[in-house]
Amino acid sequence: MISNKRLVLAHFWLAFALFGVAVLLGEWQMFIRSPLSGWLRNADMYYRSVTAHGTVMGYVFPTLVAMGFGYFISEASLGQPLIGRRWAWTGYYMIIVGSIAAVVPVALGLDSVLYTFYPPMIGNVFYYLGVVLVVVGSWVWVALMGVNLYVWKRAHPGAPVPLAMFANVAGAYLWAWTAVGAALELLFQIIPVALGYATTINAGLSRVLFSWTLHAIVYFWLMPAYIAFYTIVPRAIGGRLYSDSMARISFALFLVFAMPIGIHHLFADPEVGSGFKVVHSIFTAMVAVPTLLTVFTICASVEIAARLRGGTGPFGWVKALPWKNPQMLALALSFVMLGFGGAGGLINMSYQLDSTIHNTQWVTGHFHLIFGGAIVIMYFAIAYDLWPHLTGRVIQDARLVRTQLWLWFIGMIVLTFPWHYAGLLGMPRRMAFYDYTAPGMFAEGVSVVMSVIGGALLVVSALIFIAVLVRNHWATRVEPETFTFSRAVHEPITLPWALNGLGLWVALMIALTITNYGYPIVQLMRMPEASVPPVFVGGKP
């Protein structure tokens, strides 16, 4: 029985409302940059929009989804009322205040720092304080997840921690540690300058600290999607999870390998030595291990469901899958996008190949496929699965739900494939202007128009998604069955200590961060010539 429905719904609704606005901003950006529109007279409007779109989509939206889903998992999997509910609401309100503090100066044009902060560009201090407040609000969630698990474990000595909670707390700890990088950058580099206490900023150090956060944050976004892969989809399609241990190992490996790899974002930065770039490149490649483990385990789980439904033969079982089930559909579409996005990511992670596509539209295409595609479509799936349990009402629009998922998938492919192509041609990302009148640029114009069409499909899909959820609040009342997570083929009776807690993996994560980041950080701290005057955005000279 879920007793914190309002808390969970509050997180989800705020997340989806902000998401709805940010989707519109994204489509507007594509439109004004395309040949369909004349050039923007005030280019800063574009950069404001990028900042707002990125801040909402990168920080606020996934954080709120992870938090809401986390609070739900805590109660549903542990079977105990959430401990610290008042604290949870406090964290929620901190995120609201932080978001408002951040978005107002962005709207006023005082913060066009493109959401990854880009020192020495410095924006209004309230933007940074707002982001800090969002992060601190989410740390409340991290603490609560840890506390809830701890209390449960004390009451159930030796019992296997439910997989969903194991993964949920792994995600929380990953977030707690990865956010430290950006927090250090904000507290010791950017905010002192924004407040006027410092007159220079160590741009190299700031970027290294931000890279600490930059890639692992993707795995924090991924966690709810992966939790849904393992603990919702097999149950929803009438099957069983192929291996509980494999799932735990995957989540543990994400902790270890997702964190110490961020310097691959700085391949083109001269401040960091090439040796560390190679090390981070190799560790980035290791992230493929838990990803492939997941693909294997989930495909096996899905096959079990298909064979239970009468599917036979080496491939014949695929036909027996419940393709009309939104969870099945979302999973399949998510995997396709994960595959394309992951393939593109292999190029980004390569020390050599990255130079071809560095800071081009390729990068935009890659992370939109992974985050906007593979991850967000699973956020939709999570919402569709949870909503009846949160509202006590049935979702009636099964067909509309399938249309929405298909539209999102098609839209994302039409949006991102041309970006990859344009990126290979060298089209830079995050630029307000492209001159399509030049002979060599004409072909890129066609691809950008395709992306605008893809973006429009995404807007329609997002509107349908929100409409389905809103309509559910007035739908027929039902008494949903007790929420359950997927059961494994071999349900764990006892677990080795390493797979029943996260201590070992968190320790490895911290140790690897120190080995992979320690020297570059110390080196840059001791390099005073790396400090440069700040460039104030929207400020007066």
Binding site: R41, A43, G273, S274, G275, V278, T437, L508, V535
Partner: protein, 263 residues
């Protein structure tokens, strides 16, 4: 968990495996790859490790001396706090007295009736940079150089502060970005020309860059052409030279007309 850690297979497997991977990565990144490159910089193991770590050592030392530019370049480094130094007896009042020698060309209150720049309300950082450049010869001028050559740094700061404090004359027309020519509002991205407005006001203002509206038409045109021909060279990183060189005569006229208010 029971028993000593080193006998636990989960501990040994995970920590040992990760450690081995780290050692392997370090070997590849710091020893193998640097030595596999036929790079003139590779001079032994220790140097390869240091270079891969980004720590400059002896492999960097035999470099040639810095090239001295053939012409005088600007030496002014501006930060947002460059002009924050305490007035030390100077300030706006002192600057007003010093400015008496400037009135012949720049007008009694910094508004020129001739083709010299209007200084009333101009950014202090911008005036200060130009004065320093006139003084150092980075911006040669038969008129300005003799006038400022003997002024102290404090004199230049006071003059800048004085002119910045005067009320600026506004032209309503130049406020309207919609009416601005393309070169001002959007630039020409394919020719590496950023919008004039992205530094000189209306879209954004950058440190040390003067606002341009309203300035005398002939002055603006002369300066833009001087940048284009490379006869004026005190722009940081040759920024204005690179921009002006790529501008067509029509674009020069359009931008000059816009900023001088003579549309």
């Amino acid at each position: 968990m029971s028993g000593p850690l080193l006998r636990n297979r989960w501990f040994v497997g995970s920590v040992g495996g990760t450690f081995l991977l780290l050692v392997f990565s370090l070997f590849v990144g710091f020893v193998w790859l640097p030595s596999a490159q036929e790079d003139a910089l590779f001079k032994g193991l220790w140097n390869s490790i240091c270079s891969a770590a980004g720590a400059p050592r002896s492999w960097l030392s035999p470099t040639s001396a810095p090239v001295t530019p053939p012409t005088k370049v600007s030496e002014v480094v501006l930060t947002p706090t460059t002009l924050d130094e305490p007035a030390s007896g100077g300030g706006v009042g002192r600057g007003a007295t010093l400015a008496l020698r400037c009135t012949m060309c720049h007008g009694l209150r910094g508004v020129s009736s001739s083709q010299t720049p209007n200084l009333a309300g101009q950014y202090a950082s911008s005036i200060y940079k130009e004065l320093r450049d006139f003084q150092s010869g980075a911006r040669p001028s038969a008129v300005m150089t003799p006038l400022v050559i003997k002024l102290s740094d404090q004199d230049l700061r006071d003059l800048s502060a004085y002119y910045a404090s005067l009320p600026r004359r506004q032209t309503p027309g130049a406020q309207d970005l919609q009416a601005a020519p393309d070169i001002v509002a959007t630039g020409a991205p394919m020719r590496n020309i950023p919008p004039c407005g992205s530094c000189h006001g209306r879209l954004d203002s950058k440190l040390g860059v003067p606002w341009l509206d309203p300035q005398p038409r002939d002055y603006l045109k002369t300066q833009l052409e001087a940048f284009a021909h490379g006869t004026r060279r005190n722009d940081t990183s040759a920024q204005m030279r690179n921009i002006a060189r790529n501008m067509t005569p029509e674009e020069i006229d359009a931008s000059v007309n816009y900023y001088s208010g003579t549309r």
